[in-house]
């Protein structure tokens, strides 16, 4: 593990109060983006990193996925399912995540 990541993760979890519903709502939603964008928005590659994205850039992208002005392969199907308030909360959330190198697990190979 890189030392930087360890520290980053620590900051990420210490900075967030635990057990508060309002925070949980956006935190869990944001975490569900990780399947494509990596843990805390730190994609290992192929998709854009969301960690540290500028708030207004984020909101603009999500709005243009919704109205189709930015063509997308899959993001329109996610952006259209969110409320405007959730998009703003997600923008705030990702803007404060530290931008780190994504960690890909190494396949064991063989067979």
């Amino acid at each position: 593990m890189s030392r930087r990541l360890a520290i980053g993760l620590c900051v990420a979890c210490c900075a967030l109060p635990t057990g508060v519903s309002g925070d949980d709502h956006v935190r869990v939603l944001a975490a569900s983006c990780a399947a494509c964008h990596g843990t805390a928005g730190n994609s290992v590659g192929g998709t854009p990193k969301l960690a540290g994205l500028d708030r207004s850039h984020f909101i603009l992208q999500m709005q243009s996925f919704r109205d189709g002005s930015r063509p997308s392969s899959v993001m329109h199907h996610h952006a259209k399912g969110l409320t405007l308030q959730e998009i703003e909360q997600l923008a705030d959330h990702f803007a404060t995540q530290p931008r780190l190198a994504g960690q890909a697990p190494r396949p064991l190979g063989g067979m």
Partner: protein, 419 residues
């Protein structure tokens, strides 16, 4: 915890120095959470419990295997564009989260005492238990397929691993002009588009290597369960004349030695036969009495994934009874809602009353072309279930770009689950 168990935990080699920090130093831990099952759901729950619960939780992950083999992408092993070793990982990436890892198969849950019974009879207490047992196969209707010997001839290959490789070897050994027959159980089963992706992958291989061959799809469902239009078109355009699809064709009986499947209407002979049996929540959910829906699936509270039958036990992933697709992404999203709720509950707080999360399933129809189905799911306070939000849907057509994104989806979800 008994001394032997403690030693076993140490024996995993992960705990050195990290072991019960809090309990050793006398700082009271907020609680011990045990996660049973190290698939997408369980591994994710263990990691996010640490990320969100901080250092005051003691987290134990119990998984019988020492390797993680990804079901997503495993159909590509049948198509020949991936090797199973590329989809196989260990759990070392989770060690940094101070998760005590125990490779063992638990015997039972003693819910009254809040204890697990390990394979050697040792007991391990918990404050909250999260079960992520995945699926087991139901052989009541097809008892002839229950044995390992039968499965060597007619594999299910519906848990990625040796059977995936065996099925690939059977396809390699099949003569050109042979027939591949696949039997699909009634929904719900793990990975709704998976069987149809498998048909596409086998067709991809046969088109290149054995173009005179045929594929017969015996589907117990009245129609293709997921991405129907996309798969129908992909088969017609990419593999014309190769795939015969037969709806309402449940396997009633299998002649294992001769590879013949009997449905209500016909007997179908195969050169390579793949029967995906009906499924239910994994064994431990059954023995712990949690599978209250059709004796197959576990009913949960979608705010916390706590069982509706036994308190203190949460169930996540494919074992959950719901209209939600049993996908890897869904398993990780449920794990995160559950982890956040368990952290909240142990701190005396209420879970988020309206969870929302995203889900996507990609399917490959060749080695490079893929397509998706994607929805945001939102808790419905009246119905008390997760429902797909407006605005989701499927790709217009499979593309190479989505093939790339599907590959990166896998890389990112592996990273999120295992590191």
């Amino acid at each position: 915890m008994q001394r032997r168990t403690f030693l076993k935990l140490l024996g995993t080699g992960v705990v050195l120095g990290a072991f019960p920090k809090a309990s050793w130093s006398g700082v009271p831990v907020q609680g011990r959470v045990i996660v049973v099952g190290g698939g997408y759901a369980g591994a994710t729950a263990a990691k996010y419990l640490r990320l969100w619960g901080g250092s005051r939780l003691e987290i134990v992950l119990i998984e019988k295997g020492t390797t993680f083999v990804s079901c997503p992408l495993s159909n590509l092993v049948l198509g020949g564009s991936r090797r199973i070793g590329e989809l196989t990982f260990n759990y070392a990436g989770l060690d940094r989260y101070d998760i005590k890892r125990l490779h063992d198969e638990i015997q039972a849950v003693d819910a009254d005492k809040r204890q697990l019974v390990l394979s050697d009879g040792d007991r391990l207490g918990y404050d909250r238990l999260i079960l992520a047992p995945g699926i087991d196969f139901v052989y009541d209707g097809l008892p002839m397929l229950a044995s390992a010997e039968a499965q060597a001839i007619v594999p299910h290959a519906w848990k990625a691993g040796p059977q995936t490789v065996a099925l690939r070897q059977q396809l390699e050994a099949m003569p050109d002009g042979g027939t591949f027959v696949i039997s699909i159980p009634k929904a719900p089963y793990r990975c709704p588009p998976g069987p149809y992706e498998r048909v596409s992958q086998v067709a991809f291989y046969l088109k290149g290597a054995k173009p005179k061959s045929k594929i017969i799809v015996l589907d117990a469902n009245p129609e293709i369960v997921s991405k129907k239009g996309l798969f129908t078109r992909a088969w017609a355009e990419l593999y014309p004349g190769m795939v015969e699809y037969r709806p309402n064709s449940q396997a009633m009986e299998v002649d294992v030695a001769r590879k013949i499947v009997k449905t209500e209407f016909e007997r179908v002979r195969a050169d390579v036969l793949n029967v995906i049996p009906p499924q239910r929540a994994g064994r431990i959910a059954q023995t712990a009495g949690l599978a209250n829906i059709d004796k197959r699936w576990c009913e949960v509270d979608f705010l916390s994934y706590e069982s509706r039958v036994v308190s203190g036990i949460h169930v996540i992933g494919d074992a959950v009874s719901s209209a939600l697709p049993k996908s890897a992404h869904m398993a990780t999203s449920q794990a995160k809602v559950c982890a956040a709720a368990v952290v909240a509950l142990l701190a005396g707080n209420a879970p988020d009353p309206q969870p929302v999360f995203a889900n996507t399933c990609y399917s490959f129809v060749t080695d490079r072309l893929a397509m998706h189905i994607a929805h945001v799911y939102r808790y419905d306070t009246a119905k008390k279930i997760m429902l797909p939000a407006e605005g989701g849907g499927v790709s217009e057509r499979p593309t190479e770009q989505e093939g790339q994104y599907a590959y990166w989806w896998a890389q990112n979800i592996w990273s999120d689950t295992l590191t």
